[in-house]
């Protein structure tokens, strides 16, 4: 129980810190949103109109920082994120709600596949370490992991989208042809395959490497040797003894990755013109769109924190030592 209370306290404390940083950071950027709004209207706004607009946006640059901070907390707690400056007069909530399902679908699923695939391959490689399979997998994963994503994605798009024509070259144009239903779903899937594949392939390499290395280390431990000496079947030693222990650091990494899913995959979205939160965040930063930026950062911070909290809870199940600490 003490373990749990401590986790909850850490969650609250880091949550407060993250939200405060989220408040401070955008205000350290050069320029101010009123000027950017002026730029959007190409300077044609009269000072009176500009003043009216800034009030409408809730950008009170003349307000004291403390007053802004208090108002900020009020808004965050009530979920009132205000109007987006970039997509004015659409509300921030509306913009985020539009992009979120696409990101969750694409990045969420491909992150999960990459984790399962990468960890599985890592286990197999470590169990047979020194074998030819391991000898091939290691450099391939290193290569995939260190490849510049933008370049790789463009190459895939050019090859499979443009030259071979197996997949659409991007966006939702074909979605527009479809009325919906099964045909619409098919179009959504055919648009997602290529971007999902690039994310999965480049991300899986990292999971393979960490899982393999952790597992190789665990395989050298005495308790594994003891398990083998006891004559336990290979599968039990491989999964219940070695993999179960080796997966712990990977699991923390996975929790972080799930958190970052919410941030979207900017490069993927740009290369494949895929809808999502990454581009929204990018636009928000370019346009000094504080309200939109803060809402997305808030979701990212919360997702990372909650995912970590859940990972901590999962540790209780995975790692008996945590349970032991909790009882003492």
């Amino acid at each position: 129980m003490r373990y749990l209370t401590r986790r909850v306290l850490v969650l609250l404390l880091t949550g407060w810190a993250a939200l405060t940083i989220n408040f401070v950071l955008p205000r350290l950027m050069p320029g101010n949103p009123a000027e950017v709004m002026l730029a959007r209207f190409q300077g044609r706004l009269s000072p009176r109109a500009l003043a009216a607009l800034t009030v409408e946006f809730g950008v009170h640059t003349h307000q004291s920082l403390l007053a802004q901070y208090v108002a900020y907390w009020g808004h965050m707690l009530t979920g009132n994120f205000g109007l987006s400056l970039t997509y004015y007069p659409a509300s921030v909530a509306q913009m985020v709600a539009q992009a979120f399902p696409w990101t969750l679908g694409l990045v969420g699923i491909s992150t999960l596949i990459a984790f399962i695939l990468g960890t599985g391959i890592g286990i197999a490689a470590a169990w047979r370490h020194g074998s030819r399979l391991d000898g091939v997998l290691l450099p391939v994963s290193l290569l995939l992991n260190s490849m510049p994503y933008f370049w790789f994605a463009l190459l895939m798009l050019y090859l499979f989208g443009f030259v071979l024509g197996w997949f659409p070259v991007g966006g939702g144009l074909n979605l527009a042809h479809q009325a919906g239903g099964w045909a619409g779903l098919g179009a959504i899937i055919s648009h997602a395959i290529l971007p999902a594949a690039t994310i999965t392939i480049t991300a899986a390499g990292g999971w393979v490497l960490t899982m393999r290395n952790n597992m190789v280390a665990i395989l050298g431990e005495d308790f594994v040797k003891f398990a083998r000496a006891k004559g336990l079947p290979d599968r039990v030693v491989e999964f219940r003894y070695a993999a179960r222990n080796a997966i712990l650091p990977n699991f923390t990494g996975f929790a972080m990755a799930i958190g970052f899913v919410v941030g979207g995959a900017l490069l993927t979205e740009i290369v494949f013109s895929y809808p999502g939160l990454g581009y929204l965040l990018y636009e928000a930063v370019l346009n000094l769109d504080y309200p939109l930026m803060q809402a997305i950062f808030l979701f990212i911070s919360l997702a990372v924190l909650v995912a970590n909290f859940l990972a901590d809870l999962a540790y209780i199940l995975l790692d008996p030592r945590v349970r032991a600490v909790g009882r003492s």
Binding site: V36, R40, Q42, S46, A99, S273
Partner: protein
């Protein structure tokens, strides 16, 4: 009355009659094939869920201002022609203090009610009531009242003559009075069910694709030929290039790199690009800041820059260098006074060094420029938009050429928001940007970029469009004289006066011509604008001029 516009109007009115005649024959005969859906992809990122025509383009969904709402007239910035849309004619009366516009009869809003002159008067008075909507600052031109004096006549009254203001009036999208008079907060109203007079109506919207369907009651009988229009928002130029190369789309407005090779040559029979010039890319210098406040220093910069090389590097030969006084090529014939030729600054680094020497500048032993007092000049920033490859390339060449005369510079790439606000507030040394105004005569750019009413007294204050923050009473006088007269000879003299000051004092250095980047393919549809038939200016799909394309394009 402005003679040149009058000629253009007469020509386009007769053109409209000719078109009507041609159309009548097409409907019966086996001429034009109707039907089909036209596709486009634009690097817009996402499409705002907003069909409010009073917001600047980009804040409303692409198409709002080109297919749903229509202005009174379309001014073709490439050939200076005026095309009547909701207006059919106009005349200036009472010493250019009264503008009488005749509106089209027989036009219907898409909700079935009739369009009248009252809607036009309402629209302009609405701008007066809500100044935030008046993006063209129509009510700052001296306009005092707008009234509908009949079912198809609107009278605009001015306190002082301002004939060029006609263009801003002509281009304002007109809305139905019946619906908009009920809107409480027009600047935040998203107008989810737009009712306009245009050739299409909204069919469906999502943030990535907007679809329009033919308006069967459009006032041009039998038009448009096509049944649908789909515009997709993509997130990079590469996607629109791939899409048009695969013929998924028929047209796009994209500055394709090395367009002749990467696009046109891939399918020479059907892939075409038309990049008509209607503006100029300029190197702005902050004349409120030393040493750019020094005229000799600015002249030396003009002499040090090889604009031919800059244009070749930036546009691979598709676009040429700029006229040194920023005349658009199509307008140079009518407006460029040959006496200006002698004032131009030819490319010559040697001459540039001489100019600097005469002004008292010196060089250090390593070749760096230093002031007369022997202080080496710091490195100056050249402001460009982050990722805008054409501007970045220009800045690189400029930087190299300035280094050759001892001026060191760094290229400062800023995201759009900070780029634009630095430009407006004068927090920059040098910047590459387009000309502030576009129109059928050089007046529009000169007025926007050098008129003192668009400038600011101090760094930090907003200069609406005089980004070099350069003003001269002589320029203001010439612009004022241009506004108040209809005499073409006087207007030409005024333009020459401003051009002469530009050449002598160099508030900015014109670098290259600036075109519209219109790319299209004719595998299934024909009738796109091009150099042979420039019925519009190659406008982007969301600009009013694209309207003319949507009513002309048809199946092959």
């Amino acid at each position: 009355m402005n003679q040149r516009i009058a000629i253009g109007l007469a020509a386009s009115v007769s053109l409209a009659f000719a078109l009507a005649a041609a159309m009548a024959s097409n409907v019966g005969a086996a001429g034009v094939k109707t039907g089909g859906t036209l596709y486009s992809a634009m690097p817009w990122g996402t499409i705002p869920d907003n069909f409010n025509p009073f917001l600047p383009s980009g804040s409303n969904a692409g198409g709002t201002l080109s297919v749903i709402y229509e202005p009174l007239f379309y001014d073709n910035s490439v050939n200076g022609q005026l095309v009547p849309l909701l207006g059919t004619g106009y005349k200036w009366e009472d010493h250019n203090l009264k503008l009488v516009v005749t509106t089209r009869r027989g036009v219907q809003w898409t909700d079935g009610t009739a369009f009248t002159a009252k809607d036009v008067a309402f629209t302009f008075n609405y701008l007066h009531q809500y100044p935030v909507l008046d993006l063209s600052r129509i009510w700052s031109t001296g306009l005092t009242s707008v009234t509908a004096t009949g079912s198809n006549t609107v009278v605009f009254t001015f306190s002082k003559a301002n004939t060029p203001a006609f263009l801003y009036i002509a281009g304002q999208a007109v809305v139905p009075a019946r619906l908009w008079s009920k809107v409480k907060n027009p600047s935040t109203y998203t107008n989810p069910h737009p009712v306009g007079t245009g050739p299409f109506t909204l069919q469906s919207f999502n943030p990535y694709v907007v679809k329009y369907v033919r308006n069967p009651h459009y006032w041009m009988v039998g038009r448009p030929y096509i049944h649908g229009l789909v515009i997709e928002a993509v997130k990079s130029n590469d996607t629109s290039l791939f899409d048009i190369l695969k013929h998924n789309i028929q047209f796009t407005y994209t500055a394709i790199t090395d367009v002749a090779k990467t696009f046109a040559a891939r399918a020479p029979a059907v892939n075409h690009y038309w990049w008509p010039v209607n503006n100029t890319n300029l190197l702005y210098m902050n004349t409120q800041e030393a040493p750019f406040s020094n005229t000799a220093f600015r002249i030396a910069i003009a002499e040090a820059l090889n604009t031919k090389l800059i244009a070749t590097r930036a546009y691979y030969g598709a676009i040429g260098p700029a006229n040194p006084a920023a005349f658009v090529p199509a307008q140079a014939k009518a407006w460029f006074n040959p006496s200006l030729k002698g004032l131009e600054h030819p490319y010559s680094p040697a001459l540039a060094k001489q100019t600097l020497k005469k002004a008292g500048f010196k060089w250090t032993s390593t070749g760096q420029l230093e002031s007369a007092r022997g202080n080496p000049l710091p490195s100056y920033r050249i402001l460009v938009g982050a990722g805008w490859t054409d501007f970045i390339t220009m800045a690189q060449v400029v930087s190299n050429e300035l280094q050759a005369i001892g001026i060191s510079t760094t290229i400062d790439q800023e995201p759009w928001g900070t780029y634009e606000s630095s430009l407006l507030t004068g927090r920059y040394d040098m910047a590459i940007c387009w000309g502030a105004g576009t129109g059928p005569t050089p007046y529009y750019d000169y007025e926007q970029s050098l008129g003192s009413q668009y400038s600011a007294k101090q760094i930090g204050q907003v200069a609406v469009s005089d980004w070099s923050r350069f003003t001269r009473p002589a320029i203001d006088r010439a612009l004022q004289s241009f506004r108040q007269t209809s005499n073409l000879a006087v207007q030409k003299r005024d333009i020459t006066t401003v051009a002469r000051i530009i050449l002598r004092q160099v508030p900015f250095v014109p670098l290259t011509n600036r075109p519209n980047f219109f790319d299209y393919q004719t595998a299934t549809f024909v009738g796109f604008p091009n150099a042979q038939n420039p019925y519009n200016a190659g406008d982007p799909p969301d600009a009013p001029g694209a309207n003319l394309m949507y009513t002309r394009v048809h199946l092959k």
